[in-house]
Structures are given as structure tokens and as C-alpha cells.
């Protein structure tokens, strides 16, 4: 059976990202090109792209990116609702892992790449997050977080369960590009070994080791 890493690219598309919308879409298109033209990575990492603001939108459902004709455009606006995002992620993971297993894949622990430029605007996000990463759920994901712009370090230190990257003062557009490159390098390295290999050298970001590294 083929190994498969369910991968979720979760992107903050709230109003604070509006000025950077064009760069966000160009960066996502570049990510799509790089995945779609690298069969080994697209075979290993099945990717879903999720944009969140006031609501959560599954931009690309779990797919072999080579089969996706092009990356849809994301239009930014609204609040930064973390709670709904984590709830939706939990639902997607349940559904996607079952679907991949039905296709005879050996499914690795899902990985969430969480990119945000702001703190949560909802009050109860922690409950949703705890449910998402609850170790009693067999399909809980690893979360790798990239924070830039107005992202709150303290919040991301809670959200990141595997690795945290905080922009080192670089502007939002460069940070976006750096985060997507880091994500891509992580997927490429992981596809070569069949295990999670986090690219820690990400341009424009400080790598922060996660304080509580859980043992799987």
C-alpha cells in the first residue's frame, strides 16, 4: 500500500490580509505549480487548502494536486475565526482519512500548516482546538504554525503542536512567500523519507521549538 500524508494548508483570509490578496493568490498558485509538477510529492502528500475568516471555506478538497486544474482565487475579508476553522478541520480529517483508507493508502498522521497574520477574534476557539488535537482521537493532526503581521506569538505557541515559525520582522508578503516555501520544502523532504521532516530553515522566520512535543 502506498504511503500518504494528508496535508491541510489553512490560510488566514481575513480583512487584514486584504492588502496582500494578490500576493496570497500568486503564492498559492506557485504552490500548486510546484506540487502539480512534482509527481513524487503529489503522490505522497494529498493536499487540501482551507481559507478562513468569518467563515471557513474548503478551497481545494483533499486532492492529488496534479489532478487539480488550477488554484482557485481567494478573496479576503471578514474576521479571524479560529474556532470554526478547527471544527471544520476536524470534520475534514475524519472524512478524508476514511476516504484515503478506502483507496488503500497507508495514511500517516495528518499535518496542518496553519498560516495567520492575526489573533483569533472569537472567544471560544480553545475548546475547538483542544477537540482537534485531542490525543484520545486516533486521527488528531500535527499542527505547524507560521505567524506573521499581527499574529500573536502566545496564541500560536498553543496552536503549534509540532513546530512554530514566527516572522522575524519581515513584511507580510515576503513572509507569505517564505512560509509557503518552508511548507513545500517540508513536503519534499518528507516525501523522500516517508516521515515528517520539517524544514526549519525558513527565510524571514524564526524557528521556535514547540515546548510540548508530544510523543505519538
Amino acid at each position: 500500500m502506498s504511503l500518504c500524508l494528508p496535508t491541510y494548508v489553512v490560510i488566514d483570509a481575513s480583512s487584514s490580509m486584504k492588502p496582500h490578496e494578490a500576493v496570497l493568490n500568486a503564492t498559492l498558485s506557485r504552490l500548486h505549480y510546484n506540487l502539480a509538477t512534482n509527481p513524487r510529492v503529489s503522490e505522497f502528500a494529498r493536499v487540501s487548502v482551507i481559507a478562513f475568516s468569518t467563515d471557513v471555506h474548503v478551497v481545494i478538497p483533499m486532492s492529488d494536486m496534479e489532478q487539480v486544474p488550477n488554484m482557485p482565487e481567494v478573496i479576503c475579508g471578514g474576521r479571524t475565526d479560529y474556532g470554526k476553522t478547527f471544527d471544520r478541520l476536524r470534520e475534514c480529517i475524519e472524512q478524508d482519512v476514511s476516504s484515503l483508507r478506502a483507496q488503500h493508502y497507508s495514511v500517516l498522521r495528518p499535518t496542518v500548516f496553519f498560516l495567520t497574520d492575526g489573533g483569533p477574534t472569537d472567544a471560544n476557539w480553545r475548546k475547538s482546538f483542544r477537540e482537534l488535537v485531542d490525543r484520545n482521537r486516533p486521527r488528531y493532526p500535527h499542527v505547524i504554525a507560521y505567524g506573521f503581521g499581527g499574529a500573536e506569538r502566545g496564541v500560536l505557541q498553543v496552536v503549534a503542536t509540532k513546530a512554530l515559525f514566527i516572522a522575524d520582522g519581515t513584511d507580510t508578503e515576503s513572509a507569505l512567500s517564505g512560509a509557503i516555501s518552508g511548507l513545500l520544502n517540508t513536503l519534499i523532504a518528507s516525501s523522500q523519507t516517508g516521515q515528517m521532516q520539517i524544514a526549519t530553515d525558513v527565510k524571514g522566520f524564526e524557528y521556535v521549538q514547540v515546548a510540548q512535543e508530544y510523543v505519538d
Partner: protein, 396 residues
């Protein structure tokens, strides 16, 4: 059978036929300036850097954890082609980045090695949407459907193109096997493919070792009969070579490839299916056919195997089909043809909501066969109506 023993009479070619001008063991400082790395932290190499004074040559610099035996091993590799017949030596040099010199430094006899740069014709423009990039084309692409290959702007390979690439691969594997070398790293990432010249180019061959070596793990390439932690040997190589050839010939990457092989869809290569199935599913690893046998089968030859035939494990279950796919096949009576389609159209519905608006592109490709059937039905109906009208008109 050739092996790595030095030529007894010392008749070693004095000059590298590929044009490497310096000795086979050279100090790092003697190479001249090194250009910016073209690759870093990849496998055993810490960097691969072009030699400014020697265009077309690269310094592959290893991680700084020297193994004293590495120097001897690299020297053996460099001199190994000397023992080959002229034609095989030419094949090996043309189809691999075979090391030309060992690089030594202060206190380290094996800092790295000098290898030739892969020829330019192994690069291709990969286009998708508005992006395009010229890169080395990994053989990974041959293990994709014709539709996928066309999807990045490459020409759709005919079955003959797939066959030729696999012939070249197995030719190289047979030479390595004859030299008693284990490669272990047979996979999609270690060979380039030239669609124009129907040739392949093997990289990372400087990692080869005599008889056995640590198994290089890559996901989806694990030999089921080589337990984790044990060394890779010629049997492991045979399994991985069979896997690579099965996938490249069928354009399928999962268990479908095995089922396609078992259908033996290649009438011009009557032994091919049996050889591949023995390589992949023989329950005794020592009974796996050799690279030479696979090469013979690919060249329309017979499969001469000892009796009793190797017992084989069952094929893995067929995964559900994500999209309609067919295996590339030759047309009746010829060795090469262009066939095979795969519907890769992905239809997605759009969503519009407060805050985040996502627009989507829907692109569902029509099945050409369905389209043609519909056209024929319409043409037939039109002809019947026309006949009725003519009949009525003639009666009047």
C-alpha cells in the same frame, strides 16, 4: 561476467574518454574555484558545485563524517569501467554520472568526487497554468498517465518511448550487476528521462557499493523480502528495478501497475510479464530474475528460467479507480504506438460567502470515446430521417 578486480596487466586507460583532464585522485585545492551550489543537503552530499575551470564537471562534496573505507570504494568505482568491454563502458559513461575522480582534502581522503554534469537534453520545460520552469526531467514522469504527461506540456509518450527508456534503464542495471555493484537507490528520483532521445541518465551512482550496502529507504520502494535494518543486495536491486520498470511501462504508480503487468498486454514482448511478476512477487528473493533477463525480455527475447518455476505471492488488491485509465499498449503487429488515456478532469463547485469568497474553475474533460459515440448516433439518426424524406418525396 565482469567484476571489480583490477585489470591484471595494468592496461588501464590513461585518459578518461569523457575528457576529465586531471588525475583520478585530486586535491580539493587543485580543482580551482567552485561555483555556487546547484544542490545542497541532498542525500549523502552536503553540496554539489560546478567546477569553474572545468565546464561540464561538478564537485560532489560529502557530509563531513568520513568513512575511511569510502576512499577505497570510490577508487574502485572510478576504475571499474576499465574492466568493461568498450561498448559497455561507453554505455555506462553516456548513461550515468559515473565518478571521474576522488577529491581528497587535509585529513580526509574522501571529501567527495568529481562527476559529469547531466547532459542538457535531459532538461525540459514543465508548464502548468501560467507557470513554467526548465528542469531536469525525472523518470518519475514516465510513471504517469499519458494525460498527466501532456498536462505539463510534454509530448505524450508512445508505448515505444516507454519501452525504450526501460530498455536503457535495464541495460545500465545489467552493467552494474555485472560489476558486482549494488545501487539500492532505484527509484523515480534517481534517473532523468529524455523524451526526445528516448534515453535515461542515472544519477547518484557514486553511492554504489560492492555486493551489499545499507538499504536506502524511500517510501513506496521498500522490498518486502528485505527486512528493515538489513543490507540491500543484488536481490533488493532486482525488486526495485522491476518495480520501476513496471510503473514506467504502465504509467501507473500503485497496485494497478501489477495488475496491468499480469494481463501481459505486450504481444511483442511475450516474456516480459512473467519476468516482471517473478521479480516483484517471487517468494524467494534469490529466485528473482536478473537485470539481464529483464533487459532480454524488454528486447522481445525469451525468459529462460530454471524449473521448478518460482512460487509467487498474490497480487495486492486492486485499489478503487479514481478515474478511467488504460495501460499504454502497442498496436497489433508493431512495437510502438500511441495509446492510453486518463480522465483527469476535476470538477469543483464554487462557493460564495461573507468574508472569504472563493472562485473556482470547473474543468471536466469529455471522454473522447463518448463524444464519438454520440456523434455517430446523431449521424445515423440524421441519415434515417433523410432516407424517409427522400422516400416520401420520390413517392410523390
Amino acid at each position: 561476467m565482469t567484476d571489480l578486480n583490477p585489470v591484471a596487466d595494468g592496461s588501464v586507460p590513461a585518459v578518461d574518454p569523457r575528457g576529465w583532464p586531471l588525475p583520478r585522485a585530486v586535491g580539493l585545492g587543485d580543482l580551482g574555484p567552485l561555483a555556487e551550489p546547484i544542490s545542497e543537503h541532498n542525500g549523502q552530499a552536503v553540496a554539489v558545485r560546478p567546477l569553474t575551470d572545468h565546464p561540464g564537471w561538478l564537485a560532489k562534496l560529502y557530509r563531513p563524517d568520513p568513512h575511511p573505507e569510502d576512499a577505497q570504494r570510490i577508487d574502485l568505482l572510478i576504475s571499474a569501467p576499465d574492466t568493461l568491454p568498450e561498448s559497455e563502458r561507453a554505455t555506462l559513461y553516456a548513461g550515468t554520472c559515473w565518478p571521474a575522480a576522488r577529491i581528497h582534502g587535509p585529513g580526509n581522503p574522501a571529501v567527495g568526487c568529481v562527476i559529469p554534469m547531466a547532459p542538457e537534453h535531459y532538461r525540459a520545460e514543465l508548464r502548468r497554468g501560467k507557470f513554467s520552469e526548465r528542469r531536469f526531467l525525472e523518470i518519475d514522469w514516465l510513471a504517469k498517465s499519458d494525460e498527466s504527461i501532456r498536462g505539463v506540456g510534454l509530448p505524450r509518450p508512445a508505448f515505444g518511448d516507454r519501452l525504450e527508456a526501460c530498455r536503457r534503464l535495464t541495460e545500465l542495471a545489467a552493467i552494474l550487476e555485472a560489476l558486482g555493484l549494488v545501487y539500492s537507490d532505484w527509484s523515480f528520483s534517481n534517473a532523468f528521462w529524455s523524451p526526445d532521445r528516448r534515453s535515461v541518465y542515472l544519477i547518484d551512482v557514486d553511492g554504489c557499493q560492492p555486493q551489499k550496502m545499507p538499504d536506502i529507504h524511500q517510501p513506496n520502494w521498500a522490498d518486502p523480502l528485505t527486512p528493515p535494518g538489513s543490507d540491500a543486495d543484488h536481490c533488493t536491486d532486482r525488486y526495485r528495478l522491476g518495480l520501476l520498470v513496471a510503473k514506467c511501462l504502465t504509467g501507473q504508480r500503485d497496485a494497478r501497475a501489477f495488475h496491468s503487468v499480469s494481463l501481459s498486454p505486450w504481444p511483442e514482448q511475450p516474456a516480459l510479464s512473467e519476468v516482471l511478476l517473478d521479480m516483484l512477487f517471487a517468494t524467494e528473493r534469490e529466485r528473482r530474475p536478473t537485470a539481464v533477463q529483464l533487459n532480454q525480455a524488454l528486447n522481445n527475447g525469451p525468459y529462460l528460467r530454471t524449473v521448478p518455476r518460482p512460487t509467487r505471492s498474490a497480487l495486492p488488491p486492486l485499489p478503487p479507480l479514481p478515474a478511467s485509465q488504460t495501460v499504454p499498449q502497442p498496436p497489433a503487429g508493431t512495437g510502438a504506438a500511441e495509446t492510453g488515456t486518463a480522465d483527469t478532469g476535476t470538477a469543483k463547485s464554487g462557493t460564495v460567502a461573507e468574508g472569504t469568497v472563493v472562485t473556482r474553475t470547473t474543468e471536466k474533460k469529455k471522454d473522447p470515446a463518448t463524444t464519438w459515440n454520440a456523434r455517430w448516433i446523431w449521424a445515423f439518426a440524421f441519415a434515417v430521417i433523410l432516407l424517409i424524406v427522400i422516400s416520401i418525396a420520390s413517392n410523390h
